[in-house]
């Protein structure tokens, strides 16, 4: 495997040959050498996922503990004086098998440097060739984010030296992006605190750009470079600084991801590394003089800092929190915030740390790319995508509430669970239950929601099982619910049957129910009378009270009924009939 990677070393050992660059599956010799420029970003990138998760879990336990102590109480108090402002840049991998400017396939492969075109490695003399297929997910994303699509946009070069950037620049859309003026709506359903109400977060622009190569640290001196990812198509989504709490920041990123998923613009989210966020954080006093900084028309802001490369929703929230507290600490102590780039890592979620200051800031020297023609997007194309766009989460939410009769909470839960697969499962089960002649899904919607979210949800939680649509086949689930609704299964039997299905039983529900003797077979009148008489015999005192028809009669009747239900076969009994029998004996 090593032979297929490009190596970056401090110390020179050998060199690699490029004569076979365009050949599709040529091996590249190993070791070229170059300085490994270590930053926090890279550490986070190369740390194994398992370790990341462990660290995150530990950190969150730690935070819960520390949240309860008095210092944090004070901290919360003083937040009343300060306004936090956050703007977010999200980089998302587009769901396309084309690279942005090369004919190489962008499909995932685990063989490093397997399918490269010369341009992917910036071979001299190679030129960028725009790949129109990338526009499909890009336009879907921009339309779903409510952007205006510009009929003409351009590509620029953003220069910086780094070993994952073979050309020495990234091609992006800095001066004239393809989409502008978008909007994302956040509500409590998206994780906002109730007092924040409904927020409309402006999207300044959405731009197409290239992804970098993938690097992996091989040893202390060497990092390996896989150019397969180099040149993949990304969209960068830049928000206006209109977020004012860490929760809202995280909710915004989550919402954008769910929108991208919903319209199929992206398929790999934060947990798979396909979505990264940079957050810009500033604070200002509510009552003090307004700041003198501004961003894209939003004025009066405090000096901002940027925290780069956050790769989970939680990290967005934690990093914003930590940076807010740091800035307030400095300002309250009479200090000044420096405009700088900062890092945040899972291992120390309570703090951000300085990566580089203004003097060390990279001057990207944006230059229009002289090789790439302007991108013209036809109005008809935009109209086509607009009319064929799948529903975005907010539309789905409305649908679930209005057509399926779900509560907002349940609908929101269905949307957010398991990347939408739970929702698909839910719709599958409902449609199996609903007769084709009947369009009214409310008849079953609530009921199915109850089973899939609450009954099944409880089972998943108690057994610590991960959701999968194949756990219980949708047909089994709909049969189970159907039997219960027809009165052939009592509630307890149905739950028992669910546990059997959950354990992996694949036979038809009716067969299992019969075998396990769960089907409801009503007791006959004779049996009810016998049972009632036995209870009457055992509890003469209560019988007397009932027969006297005193004040306590009603209560004692319930007691006797309870005794009947307890002694009888619950699966075969109906409370109403038991009560009727009891009354007919005691109060003829």
């Amino acid at each position: 495997m090593l032979r297929r990677w490009y190596c970056h070393r401090f110390v020179s050992t050998a060199r690699l040959y490029t004569s076979s660059l365009c050949a599709q599956r040529k091996c590249f010799s190993t070791s070229t050498h170059c300085r490994f420029h270590a930053t926090a970003v890279d550490e986070a990138e190369v740390a194994p996922l398992r370790k990341q998760l462990k660290d995150a879990a530990r950190a969150s336990r730690h935070q819960q503990v520390s949240d309860t102590n008095g210092k944090d109480q004070l901290r919360r108090e003083r937040l009343k004086d300060w306004e936090l402002t956050v703007g977010i840049e999200i980089h998302a991998q587009l769901n396309t098998s084309s690279k942005l400017f090369s004919r190489a396939s962008a499909d995932w492969t685990d063989v490093p440097n397997a399918a490269l075109w010369p341009f992917d490695m910036a071979v001299p003399g190679s030129q960028p060739l725009f790949q129109p297929p990338v526009l499909i997910p890009a336009l879907r994303a921009a339309i779903a984010l409510d952007c205006d699509i510009r009929p003409r946009s351009k590509f620029d070069r953003k220069h910086y030296f780094y070993h994952d950037q073979p050309a020495g620049y990234q091609i992006t859309q800095y001066y004239e992006p393809f989409a502008v003026n978008g909007r994302v709506t956040l509500t409590q359903q998206d994780g906002l605190a109730p007092e924040e109400g409904t927020l409309h977060i402006g999207i300044k622009q959405v731009q197409l750009e290239q992804d970098t190569a993938r690097t992996q640290q091989h040893d202390e001196e060497t990092s390996l470079i896989d150019f397969n990812r180099s040149g993949h198509a990304l969209v960068e989504i830049i928000s206006l600084p209109q977020l004012h709490s860490p929760q809202a920041a995280a909710a915004y990123v989550r919402k954008v991801q769910s929108i991208l998923y919903a319209v199929d613009a992206a398929t790999t989210g934060m947990e798979l590394g396909g979505l990264r966020a940079d957050v810009n954080v500033s604070v200002r006093r509510f009552d003090g003089a307004t700041g003198n900084h501004s961003y894209s028309g939003v004025t009066g802001l405090g000096q901002r800092t940027e925290i780069k490369n956050l790769s989970s929703f939680k990290s967005v929230e934690d990093a914003v929190c930590a940076e807010r507290d740091r800035q307030i600490d400095i300002l309250e102590a009479g200090g000044k915030i420096e405009g700088e780039t900062r890092g945040w890592s899972l291992s120390n979620p309570g703090a951000t740390r300085r990566l580089r200051g203004k003097e060390g800031e990279v001057d990207y020297r944006y230059m229009p790319d002289p090789d790439i023609l302007p991108l013209h997007i036809d109005n008809d194309l935009v109209a086509h995508f607009r009319s064929t766009l799948p529903p975005v989460p907010d539309q789905l939410l409305d649908m679930l509430r209005l057509s399926y009769g779900l509560t907002a909470d349940d609908a929101g839960a269905l949307l957010n669970l398991d990347n939408g697969t739970r929702l698909l499962y839910y719709q599958d089960v409902v449609s199996r239950l609903t007769p084709s002649s009947n369009n009214n899904k409310t008849a079953f919607g609530v009921h199915v929601g109850n089973w899939i979210l609450h009954e099944l949800g409880a089972l998943l939680t108690t057994t610590e099982t991960e959701w999968h649509p194949d756990l219980i086949h949708a047909q089994q689930m709909s049969d189970l619910i159907s039997l219960q609704l027809k009165g052939q299964l009592t509630g307890p039997s149905a739950k028992k049957l669910l546990r059997i299905l959950f354990a992996g039983e694949k036979e038809p529900v009716s067969v299992i129910a019969e075998r396990e003797n769960l089907l409801f077979q009503s007791m006959n009148d004779q049996e009810y009378v016998e049972l009632a008489n036995r209870v009457i015999q055992d509890h003469p005192k209560e019988v007397e009270i009932v027969q006297k028809n005193s004040k306590q009669a009603q209560g004692k009747l319930k007691f006797l009924l309870g005794q009947m239900m307890r002694h009888g076969d619950r699966n075969r009994m109906e409370a109403q009939r038991a009560e009727k029998t009891l009354r007919s004996i005691l109060m003829p």
Binding site: V11, T18, C22, C34, P118, P124, F161, R365, P370
Partner: protein, 551 residues
């Protein structure tokens, strides 16, 4: 000229005197030719054996400047940093030539990455005449290609022209150097210096040769995003028709000419109709116009111009006038600023293009001793070590003019100047710019502009050592305007004085510039003029101005 003919020629006593005699013994075979080529180290960087089994005696040979990718020969742009680099595919230019049966036999020396005007900024040392005892500069940056043609080693050569890199060496070595309109010939596989200015240039001794090579190369290439597509090419054809107005009475006549290649069927039909009417009205005469309006811009008559060059310019114009052409005074007011704009834009693009040379993926390996460490700056040692001085100078220039603080004052300003330069040309040409909607063409305008290629005669290499970089930049003053506007331009050798013996220190090039897309009319004009003035007959006939001069 095929290799055998080259060999024969080189064996004639006069030729042997010009070349160093040690090579001639090897010239019995094609392999021998290669030996000659590779032996002339200062003009040829690498040579190639012919593919076996080919009847090379009947085939033409050509040399490429060392910034065109070839698979069998290394491509280094005469830079240390690309030492040993081989392309994975031959450049489009190379492929088209090979498909036409022309053998690429050598890669020629040049200024590193095309940055220079004298072919002295090469990792392999400066290009020298070698066969003249004189130490005259051959011009740059395509100096190696120019000298191969001038020396008769190959009938044609390919160079690249960013701000005059084909025209200037052609002028200094006494051959033809043609820079086509931007986008005519594919740049795919040409290692860029400044993408928005780079063009593929053709060098030869005769116009007919230049035309035949141009016809081979003038093709749309989908792999080059800046290659003129079929639609644009059709618009160019249409723009030419504006040379004369269509009389109304011709409107009802039937169509017999079709304009093809336009995507829009309606547009195509309309243009065809118009073309047909013109054809009807003017017939062949219209399409083979013999009398032209020649523009002479005042701004080019600068004080620094060498007197001989001024004499040659005047003489050229008077001969053209004698042939029945109109000489028209024109003004190109932005000419003065064009040079400054060029030296902002070209280095800016170069600083970006050359950022890829980090020693990680190709080229010369990074030096262990000087490899960057945690404290150093990424790649700085490697780039510092292996780029030449002029390349470093231009990278720094470009980096500065693109930096946040300087962008508006330099790069943006220069782009504005570039627009003005284009406007200048559009204001004086009869034919409108075919790709600009706003351009209408000037009915009182000119067909071609005739100016010197350079204000100076070829300087001595020894003089150049004392020149500042600025002095050498100034020498590009006449060639950069056409580059900034993307116009076709050709440098044609002329003589200042018929009585003087033609030696390399008196080579003068006259530059003819046409409207965008007017490549063939420009070449045809030069061909017809040269044929008229300089038919193949003894030289003593007077009024001979351009001569496709041979050594």
């Amino acid at each position: 000229m095929n290799p055998a003919a080259t060999a024969r020629r080189l064996k004639s006593p006069g030729e042997i005197r010009r070349y160093s005699t040690i090579y001639h013994d090897r010239l019995r075979s094609a392999r021998g030719t290669r030996a000659v080529l590779s032996g002339l180290e200062n003009l040829v960087l690498t040579g190639s054996p012919y593919p076996s089994g080919r009847n090379i005696a009947n085939d033409e040979v050509i040399v490429l400047k060392d910034n065109f990718l070839t698979t069998d020969l290394p491509t280094t742009c005469a830079s240390h940093i690309l030492e040993g680099f081989r392309g994975s595919a031959t450049s489009m230019v190379g492929r088209l030539l090979q498909d036409a049966g022309i053998h690429i036999v050598a890669k020629t020396n040049m200024d590193e990455f095309g940055m220079g005007s004298y072919s002295t900024n090469s990792a392999r040392g400066p290009v020298k005449h070698g066969f003249d005892s004189l130490e005259q500069s051959v011009g740059g940056s395509s100096g190696g290609s120019a000298l191969v043609v001038a020396g008769g080693l190959a009938r044609f050569a390919i160079g690249s022209d960013t701000g005059g890199s084909v025209r200037l060496p052609a002028a200094y070595t006494g051959i033809l150097g043609f820079k086509p309109s931007y986008g005519r010939i594919s740049r795919n596989g040409l290692i860029p210096y400044a993408n928005s200015l780079d063009t593929v240039g053709i060098m030869s001794t005769s116009v007919k040769d230049a035309i035949s090579i141009y016809r081979i190369l003038n093709k749309h290439d989908p792999a080059d995003p800046t290659s003129l597509d079929l639609n644009s090419r059709a618009r160019i054809e249409h723009a030419k028709l504006s040379r004369s107005r269509v009389p109304d009475h011709a409107a009802s006549d039937q169509v017999s000419v079709r304009v093809i290649g336009l995507r829009d069927k309606k547009e195509s039909a309309r243009l065809s109709l118009e073309a047909g009417m013109r054809w009807k009205a003017y017939g062949r005469q219209y399409f083979t116009k013999r009398s032209w309006r020649i523009g002479v811009p005042d701004e080019y008559n600068i004080q620094e111009m060498h007197p001989w060059i001024r004499i040659a310019w005047l003489k050229t114009l008077s001969v053209l006038q004698d042939m029945g052409n109109d000489i028209v005074h024109i003004s190109l007011p932005t000419t003065q600023s064009a040079l400054s704009a060029y030296y902002v834009l070209a280095p800016a693009e170069a600083s970006s293009n050359l950022a890829k040379y980090d020693g990680v993926r190709y080229g010369i390996p990074r030096d262990a001793e000087l490899a960057d460490n945690h404290e150093g700056v990424l790649y700085a040692h490697h780039r510092g070590q292996h780029f030449g001085d002029e390349v470093k100078r231009r990278i720094l220039l470009g980096t500065f003019s693109l930096s946040a603080g300087a962008m508006d004052n330099y790069f943006i300003q220069a782009q504005k100047v570039r627009r003005l330069v284009q406007q200048d040309f559009n204001n004086v040409f009869t034919v409108p710019h075919p790709l600009l909607e706003a351009s209408t063409g000037n009915p009182e305008g000119v067909d071609f502009i005739v100016v010197p290629t350079a204000p100076t005669l070829p300087p001595l290499l020894s003089e150049l050592k004392h020149q500042s970089p600025l002095d050498s930049y100034v020498n590009d003053i006449f060639t950069v305007p056409a580059s900034l506007a993307g116009l076709p331009a050709i440098s044609v050798p002329v003589v200042a004085d018929d009585d003087l013996p033609p030696t390399s220190d008196k080579n003068i090039g006259m530059q003819i510039i046409g409207q965008f897309g007017e490549d063939m009319p420009l070449l045809n004009f030069v061909r017809d003029t040269v044929e008229a003035i300089d038919p193949p007959r003894p030289r003593e006939t007077d009024s001979r101005i351009w001569t496709a001069r041979r050594f």
